[in-house]
């Protein structure tokens, strides 16, 4: 109820008020009278007002105190504009400014202003004042700008007019213009020569030039020419007189300075070309000289700081990195060639190459930003020099691995060894003659396994899996077979021991001396081939051998065993005056020693006849027993070498600190003959491979020219070959009627 009544009541009151108002308006009436006649300007309005304005402008230009307030002047301008006097106003203003600017030019033509700094200061002051004045004037005449100038397209705004006049009268003046340019260049040159200059002044002048839009013609072009000349000369001087690090840091300093200059006072558009000028003069034009000068020295000293700098700087120019890469490459090749091609380095070659590889990897990673170009170049260089000497690196790498696997983790931790092996694999990857490596590796592995010289099976397996990964299962299947043989032999020996003790218990033979015999039964074909040697074994040993033979063949039918006397080793108990010693000796040494039982002195001839060991091997064996460090035998006459006429006797006075004495060093060490034999075997294998490849290719093509055949061969063969080798093989195949020379076409072969 209440709610609905309220609006009604309000409405009611309003009505009453309205009535009251209407009533009062009836009483008073306001009339607006018509304006009679147009308003007229005071007489001489134009002259008076302009005079007022002119006075104001002139006092602004003379920097004296204004008589009128700025607001008043502004009002005057506005009213003049309203009264269509804009045109005159503008023209008069123009005239006034032109007059003033024109007068001030004379002050720069004064001969006494020779000091560039002073001259620029004067110019700058004039300019600053001019700007200030023009700004004040514009503020007074702003109405003119907003109406007259806006409607007349050709008319420049008051500010632009001021700039225009300034440009026209001062800068366009030839003398002033050249003076400004020269002064600027001179000051900049002073700064480049490491003097301090008033940078604010220069920045202000350059800003002026930019604002006046004459920066390019007046300054920039000349600045470029000047910089170019200066830096060309400087670069030539520096490259001659500085060493490389000095030169690099100088160039870097220059870049820094110029960037700084650009930030401080040059127009931003100037920088790119200025930088190009430095790049061209200091880097592009001097690349070869720079690199020739000291790249090798930097690399030699592994100077990472300067190498990074060099990389950075050369990266600024187009072919910089390519040239640096070429230099890097030839440095590595030179170093590598020195290491690889000098046999006196053989002992340390692998170590040297590994260290070198590490160092170069480091350089590429730290200084050359892991640039792919450099990584590839590094690989290429290593591949190049590692294969300079055909077989040696492959052999040495195999030997190096051998020595590491023998030592195992005695010298380093497991991880270190693992890393080392990985590194060696990298070297291995570069080697072309992988077959040479395989042959030597296999031979060393055989020795490690048979003589128990391997530090750890884990390392062996790890190395094997690395090789497998690298070269595939075909490469390692035989090596794997060798490990398998060793494991099988262990099982066989276990079973054989049981068998032996069982059969010994049953035998009534009292003469039968128990002997701890273990046999490694190796699969022929997996292992390196060893020379067959028919030596005379003592009856007792023969008996054991026979027992094993029967035992083995009963387990593995269809097989035959070939005993390898050169690989066996024994422990021999020896009685000396100082007591009993155990001698760790090779089988051949054992045979010789056993001959001395019950004998005082034996002649060389007797030993040879009784043992049936061939001369070379026997001499080595006797030498190791009678001329080495551990002299179990004595020789008559004394001497380092064994002659056919020598006599030997048992050395009862033998002394050694140890109970167990190792004598069979010779067996462990590789002889040069063995090495030659391995190389020869690799060479033989290669002949067959070449033959096979030739036949394969000829079979598919039927007829082929000599050159095509050779190039096909080079593609197929995985090891390095010489042209002469190939020719020889082709000749041999022709002789054996596998192929023939074409009767009509020269240099063509036909498959038969």
């Amino acid at each position: 109820m209440n709610r609905s009544s309220t609006p009604v009541s309000i409405f009611g009151t309003n009505k009453v008020n309205l009535k009251n108002f209407n009533r009062s308006s009836d009483m008073k009436k306001i009339f607006i009278k018509k304006f009679r006649g147009n308003p007229v300007l005071p007489p001489n309005y134009y002259e008076n007002t302009w005079n007022k304005l002119r006075d104001a402008i002139i006092s602004i230009q003379n920097s004296s105190i204004l008589k009128y307030s700025l607001e008043e002047l502004y009002g005057d301008v506005e009213s003049m504009c309203i009264h269509n006097m804009s045109h005159f106003l503008y023209d008069n203003l123009y005239y006034l400014v032109e007059n003033h600017v024109g007068q001030s030019v004379s002050s720069f033509l004064n001969d006494s202003l020779n000091d560039p700094q002073e001259f620029l200061t004067v110019i700058n002051n004039t300019w600053v004042i001019h700007c200030k004045q023009m700004s004040t004037i514009r503020n007074i005449f702003i109405h003119l700008d907003r109406t007259y100038v806006l409607h007349n397209v050709q008319t420049a705004s008051i500010w632009d007019m001021g700039l225009d006049l300034f440009r026209q009268y001062i800068i366009r003046n030839c003398l002033v213009k050249t003076k400004i340019t020269d002064a600027l260049l001179l000051l900049i040159k002073q700064e480049r020569d490491a003097n301090t200059i008033d940078r604010d002044l220069i920045r202000s002048i350059i800003r002026m030039l930019t604002i006046l839009q004459i920066y390019k013609p007046v300054f920039e072009e000349k600045f470029y020419t000047e910089s170019e000349n200066m830096y060309a000369a400087e670069a030539n001087y520096c490259i001659k007189n500085f060493d490389l690090p000095e030169y690099l840091s100088h160039v870097r300093k220059r870049f820094k300075e110029e960037y700084n200059r650009g930030n401080q006072y040059l127009d931003s558009g100037t920088m790119p070309r200025l930088i190009t000028i430095i790049e061209k003069n200091f880097i592009a034009d001097q690349i070869q000289k720079t690199l020739d000068k000291g790249l090798n020295k930097l690399l030699d000293s592994r100077d990472h700081y300067n190498l990074s700098l060099l990389y950075l700087l050369l990266g600024r120019v187009k072919s910089g990195h390519a040239e640096l890469c070429a230099g890097f490459n030839s440095y590595m090749k030179q170093y590598g060639r020195n290491v690889v091609s000098h046999p006196e380095n053989d002992k340390n070659m692998v170590k040297m190459l590994l260290d070198f590889k590490d160092a170069m990897d480091d350089v590429v990673a730290k200084c050359f930003e892991k640039n792919e170009k450099f990584t590839n170049s590094l690989k290429e260089a290593f591949e190049y020099f590692i294969n300079l000497r055909i077989n040696a690196p492959a052999e040495l790498v195999a030997k190096f691995i051998d020595s590491k696997l023998r030592i195992g983790n005695k010298e380093s931790t497991d991880e270190e060894l693992e890393i080392l092996l990985d590194k060696i694999m990298v070297l291995f990857r570069f080697i072309h003659g992988k077959d040479v490596f395989e042959a030597f590796y296999k031979k060393d592995l055989a020795k490690r396994l048979l003589f128990g010289k391997s530090a750890s099976v884990d390392y062996e397996k790890s190395m094997l899996s690395k090789l497998k990964e690298e070269c595939g299962g075909g490469f390692t299947s035989k090596l794997e077979g060798m490990f398998k043989d060793m494991e099988l032999s262990k099982d066989i020996n276990g079973a054989f021991k049981q068998h032996l003790s069982h059969s010994l218990n049953n035998t009534q033979d009292t003469e039968f001396t128990p002997l701890d015999m273990t046999v490694n039964t190796l699969t022929m074909g997996y292992w390196p081939t060893y020379p067959i040697m028919n030596v005379v074994l003592p009856e007792e040993m023969l008996r054991y051998q026979e027992i094993f033979n029967n035992f083995y063949l009963s387990k593995h039918s269809g097989r035959k065993l070939a005993w390898q006397p050169t690989l066996g080793y024994c422990v021999v108990r020896a009685q000396f005056k100082v007591g009993i010693k155990e001698l760790l000796v090779s089988l051949l040494q054992t045979l010789v020693l056993l001959l001395f039982n019950g004998k005082n002195e034996l002649s060389y001839e007797y030993i040879k006849g009784a043992s049936n060991i061939e001369d070379l091997e026997l001499k080595r064996t006797l030498q190791s027993l009678a001329c080495g460090k551990t002299r179990v035998l004595l020789k008559r006459p004394k001497g380092r070498d064994v002659e056919d006429t020598d006599y030997f006797m048992y050395n009862a006075d033998f002394k050694n600190k140890l109970f167990r004495v190792t004598v069979n060093q010779i067996q462990m060490k590789e002889t040069t003959e063995e090495q030659k034999a391995t190389e020869e075997r690799v060479f033989q294998d290669r002949q067959y491979q070449i033959d096979a490849a030739i036949v394969r290719i000829m079979k598919t093509h039927k007829a082929l020219s000599h050159n095509t055949l050779v190039s096909e061969l080079c593609l197929q063969l995985k090891f390095p070959v010489t042209l002469a080798d190939l020719k020889k093989r082709i000749e041999s195949l022709i002789e054996r009627d596998y192929m023939e020379r074409d009767k009509e076409i020269q240099n063509q072969y036909n498959y038969l």
């Binding site: 273990t518 190796l522 051998q545 039918s557 269809g558 097989r559 005993w563 422990v571 108990r573 020896a574």
Partner: protein
């Protein structure tokens, strides 16, 4: 067991041989022997691969497994000719005669 037996024995030998008459006694022998198939011709006439190596088929397949060739054994027929077992078993499916002498093929023994 074996070791103690050894030592006893050696000691006995030593005490017997104090006179420098038997100065050297063999105590331990680590011998090495190479085994190969006891065959007349060392290449398999069927696949032309040495019988010591796996036959061609097995070589191609065995690249996958670790010790490839163990299963590729040799077999001798009554005629004493020998081949890879894999090769000859494929052969006799077509022609039950020895490829070399045309005698009826029957296995005399298998390599193990």
């Amino acid at each position: 067991m074996k070791m103690s037996e050894d030592n006893d024995n050696v000691d006995r030998v030593d005490s017997e041989n104090c006179k420098p008459d038997k100065m050297f006694t063999l105590k331990k022998w680590n011998a090495v022997a190479m085994w190969s198939w006891d065959v007349e011709c060392d290449t398999c006439a069927i696949c032309r691969v040495q019988v010591m190596d796996a036959c061609l088929r097995c070589q191609a397949e065995s690249k996958k497994d670790y010790y490839g060739k163990q299963d590729c054994v040799v077999v001798w027929g009554e005629c004493n000719h020998s081949f890879h077992y894999c090769c000859v078993s494929l052969w006799v499916k077509q022609n039950n005669r020895c490829p070399l002498c045309q005698q009826e093929w029957s296995i005399q023994r298998m390599g193990k």
